[in-house]
Symmetry: C2
Subunit: 166 residues, 2 copies
DNA sequence: ATTAATGGTTACAAAATTATAACTATTATC
DNA sequence: GATAATAGTTATAATTTTGTAACCATTAAT
């Protein structure tokens, strides 16, 4: 195993170990305070970040089967958190974007997430926080980039396999 | 808002944005290849990392209600992946640890996770990988530390509130 | 002009996750 | 010794998430 392999293995160990902790901070704690499901939270988060997304895009971002995205979005529309938007050039495509109400709501959610994180970091000193910030920034930068290029059109695990097994 | 607040807000934004991407790499992809649920994967991961954990400890680590931990562990015992272990001093406590089979199985799962990550990082150059490794290491170090001190005994959201609202 | 491919929906089923209440056994506290 | 607290289980229900297949409308390809 060469150096690069070793490095990827190390990244894998560290990042995978962090997943449940992040879930505890950013999902579980927030759910109980907002009555929103994980997928709803992540849908709003994706829309906040991207401005607008197609149905397929949302499914891709959350790794959720396409048919379920319809249900997910229907619920959010009923709550007036998001709205549909037709593409002018291709009438198959439907964009989803946050409504004003949705933006306000998700801004509040971001506050709650930040407070949840703050509570977890109470005992961490200033120096470490600063370094943590740089690390988080960098990881987000890289992963956001690779996130874009990850297998497109993977709206159900079967469709996914089809693409991967080529 | 002072500097420290600004910094925590930035960490919150960056880490929360990364959650669905990590889920895609380390959970969704792996589930379909292993027929294991997210919670099963994370239980094995926690046991791999900690050696042994009490039922309550597992619930805390995964933010899962205590009664559900019983079901979760029962399934893993049926598959001979983990085993119970009594505490000598306190007969209420039951430790759970990986069996030999469980260790082998999770080692394979770690391989799959690493491969999943490798596929995502294909286009990232060596320099960036190195910096990503350092960042991941640091984040894991800090979060593992705070993870330990996060609200103990929070095995259901209601119990959780009880603790928090003090 | 047919045919294939893409984006999205409908309908349905199965499995996983979350939430509670009530309970046993054991240990700690007064 | 009575009472409270802790660790874990049983039972049950509701909700969320995952997985398929078949389908419509629109666009791309031949």
């Amino acid at each position: 195993m060469d150096d690069l392999d070793q490095e990827i293995k190390s990244i894998s160990d560290n990042l995978s170990h962090v997943v449940p902790i992040l879930g505890r901070i950013f999902i579980k704690g927030v759910r109980s305070k907002t009555n929103m499901t994980q997928q709803t939270l992540q849908t709003l988060g994706a829309l906040w970040h991207h401005g607008k997304l197609t149905m397929t895009g949302i499914g891709h971002h959350l790794s959720v089967p396409k048919p379920h995205v319809t249900a997910l979005v229907d619920r959010l529309i009923a709550e007036e958190m998001v709205e549909r938007l037709n593409d002018e050039n291709d009438r198959r495509i439907i964009y989803i974007q946050l409504t004003e109400k949705g933006r306000e709501r998700f801004w509040e959610i971001k506050q709650i997430m930040t407070e949840s994180l703050r509570a977890s970091l109470l005992l961490v000193d200033k120096e470490k926080l600063h370094k943590l910030n740089e690390s988080a920034q960098y990881i987000n930068e890289i992963l956001t980039e690779v996130g874009k290029t990850m297998i497109q059109n993977c709206s159900s695990s079967s469709e996914c396999k089809k693409e991967i097994d080529v």
